[in-house]
């Protein structure tokens, strides 16, 4: 299994959010997580990535057979986990190129690989930006500053394509996107699908799943998974709503 979560209980400032969540994600599969607002979907993403505000009260999280509990966020990233943020953060004064080169070289250093030179990185970045249809001027702009919603989400997928994670968690990547932006992002995500890479897609709506077809769909409610099924489950929810569950 790429990811195993067993009986996970998580709280924030003493308030329980995840209440006994269990999930298994095999290598090479894409699973979607859906559910009403406030059920803990984004909390799950942040806990997997190691956000310090959340406290794991009970349970286990295993990535590629190694426990993630106690591992700082940067080490989880080096170990192969990537989270695309629902609300990507702005880093004023730091160019996209600088930030991404820093991140890439941090990964390379963690794996005892030599740093990429500026020139080599610039070439790689240009290729990836072209694939994501991001204009080249964005590499010199401050990270996410002044970016539209769609541009921020495309920037997230650009980062993912550079860092090549084993497990990618996409937290409401489709929120605020128009159809064209969603298509471009979905293409970027689908380019990264492989038999050794897994993805967790957190979304409210079925429409993204038209472009990124999941192997399984899970529905969350009150902090745990209450229903699982194939891709058709998303279509049923679209028609009948979450109350049907």
């Amino acid at each position: 299994m790429m990811l195993e979560i067993r009986g996970l209980h998580v709280s924030i400032e003493g308030i329980p959010i995840l209440q006994g969540l269990t999930l298994s994600l095999p290598y090479g599969q894409v699973h979607a997580i859906m559910g009403p607002n406030g059920t803990g979907k984004s909390t799950l993403a942040k806990v997997l990535a190691g956000h310090p505000s959340y406290r794991v009260d009970e349970g286990e999280i295993w990535l590629k057979g190694k426990s993630l509990l106690g591992m700082p966020p940067e080490e989880r990233s080096h170990f192969g986990l990537f989270m695309s943020f629902q609300y990507p953060v702005e880093v004023a004064g730091v160019s996209n190129e600088q930030f991404l080169r820093h991140a890439m070289n941090a990964h390379r250093q963690a794996h005892s690989l030599p740093k990429l030179s500026r020139e080599a990185f610039a070439l790689l970045l240009s290729q990836k930006m072209e694939r994501m249809q991001i204009r080249s001027e964005f590499k010199d702009r401050s990270v996410n500053v002044g970016f539209s919603g769609g541009e921020k989400k495309r920037n997230e997928i650009l980062q993912m394509s550079l860092l090549e994670p084993d497990l990618a968690i996409l937290d409401e990547t489709d929120s605020g996107l128009d159809i064209d932006a969603m298509r471009i992002i979905a293409e970027g995500v689908n380019d990264l699908r492989s038999s050794t890479r897994s993805m967790l897609i957190i979304t409210h709506y079925q429409r993204l799943l038209d472009y990124i077809r999941p192997d399984q769909v899970h529905v969350m409610d009150k902090g745990k998974i209450v229903r699982s099924g194939g891709p058709e489950l998303a279509l049923i929810l679209e028609e009948k709503g979450y109350e049907w569950i």
Binding site: A49, G50, H51, P52, S53, P72, P73, E74, R76, S77, H78, F82, M83, F85, P88, V89, V91, A92, G93, V94, Q98, F99, H102, A103, A106, H107, A110, S142, Q159, L163
Partner: protein, 314 residues
């Protein structure tokens, strides 16, 4: 490092032939290079004061660097007077490197229509005490643009007074303190609008790590005859540790009608979410704070006119 090496290491490439060197407050001819400075400009030493005068309508095309070295552990003082004739132009870069206790006084007179740009970089030992005084008087339509960068010292104090004496005069004062360990940098500024339609801008940024301290006391005074004055003051502080301390005290004394005067102060720390974003990309917490610090400083560094100074600080 001997004096010559110290001068070489402090020199900006753009100023190789326009370099004025002071050692312990005295003009040093042998270490200076005045080749690119027009011969009509004069450098005189009168008692303890060095005078650099630029005649009217002279445009000094190369930036001129003033290198001030202090070698003694006792108190060292540099007094410099800059006299800008009407419609003259000068770009001055000042490099200060020292130990012990050092003070420098800069008295600037900018005549009608003259433009002066000053950039200074303070790189001193972390045990130094530095006192810097600047007084600038601007006549009608004169321009002063000033930028000061420091990494702090055990104690760094800047005390600037700017008088906008002639109608239409403008002063833009900027500063960046990038402090760590126990370094301190304290800035006191007073901009006095004495004539109508003058414009002043103050913009200071302070990045504080470890146990560093900074303060900014910025005063804007508008005389009763200084109608249509336009003045702004902003001090931004980035606190990168729980033990860093920043204090901002703005003062506004306004005695004229029909003026526009603004002041602002910000204090920020990168939030958990902002640091987490960097860490989630594999960047360590320490490096994430470093990226934040560099991003914070970038705005003012990008505005530096001397390319090699800008590159060195990036």
């Amino acid at each position: 490092m001997d004096l010559k090496d110290r001068v070489e290491s402090a020199s900006w490439p753009e100023c190789r032939s326009s370099r004025i060197v002071f050692v312990d407050g005295c003009f040093n001819d042998s270490l200076s290079d005045l080749g690119a400075i027009p011969s009509s400009c004069a450098i005189l030493q009168r008692d303890e004061t060095a005078i650099f005068s630029i005649p009217p309508s002279i445009i000094v095309s190369s930036p001129v660097q003033i290198i001030s070295l202090f070698t003694q552990s006792a108190i060292s003082v540099l007094r410099l007077q800059i006299l800008m004739g009407s419609n003259s132009h000068l770009e001055l870069v000042q490099s200060i490197a020292g130990e012990g206790v050092a003070a420098d006084y800069m008295d600037i007179m900018i005549d009608e229509g003259a433009h002066l740009r000053v950039a200074d970089q303070i790189r001193s030992s972390k045990e130094a005490h530095l006192l810097r005084f600047m007084r600038a008087t601007l006549q009608r339509n004169a321009r002063l643009s000033s930028f000061s960068y420091s990494e702090g010292a055990l104690m760094l104090q800047r005390n600037w007074r700017v008088f906008l004496n002639g109608e239409g005069a403008e002063a833009a004062l900027k500063g960046l303190d990038d402090l760590s360990e126990n370094c301190q940098a304290h800035t006191r500024i007073c901009v006095q609008h004495c004539a109508p339609s003058c414009r002043s801008r103050q913009h200071f940024k302070k990045a504080l790590q470890d146990k560093s301290r900074a303060s900014c006391e910025g005063k804007i005074c508008i005389d009763s005859t200084a109608h249509h004055s336009d003045a702004e003051q902003l001090c931004e502080n980035l606190l990168l540790s729980d033990e860093a301390l920043a204090v901002v005290k703005p003062f506004l004394n306004i005695f004229a009608d029909d003026v526009s005067v603004k002041h602002g102060a910000t204090f920020s720390q990168p939030s958990d979410d902002e640091l987490f974003y960097c860490q989630s990309r594999g960047i360590s917490l320490r490096e994430a704070k470093e990226l934040w610090r560099r991003g914070f400083c970038r705005e003012l560094i990008d505005a530096i006119e001397i390319p090699s100074m800008r590159e060195r600080l990036l």
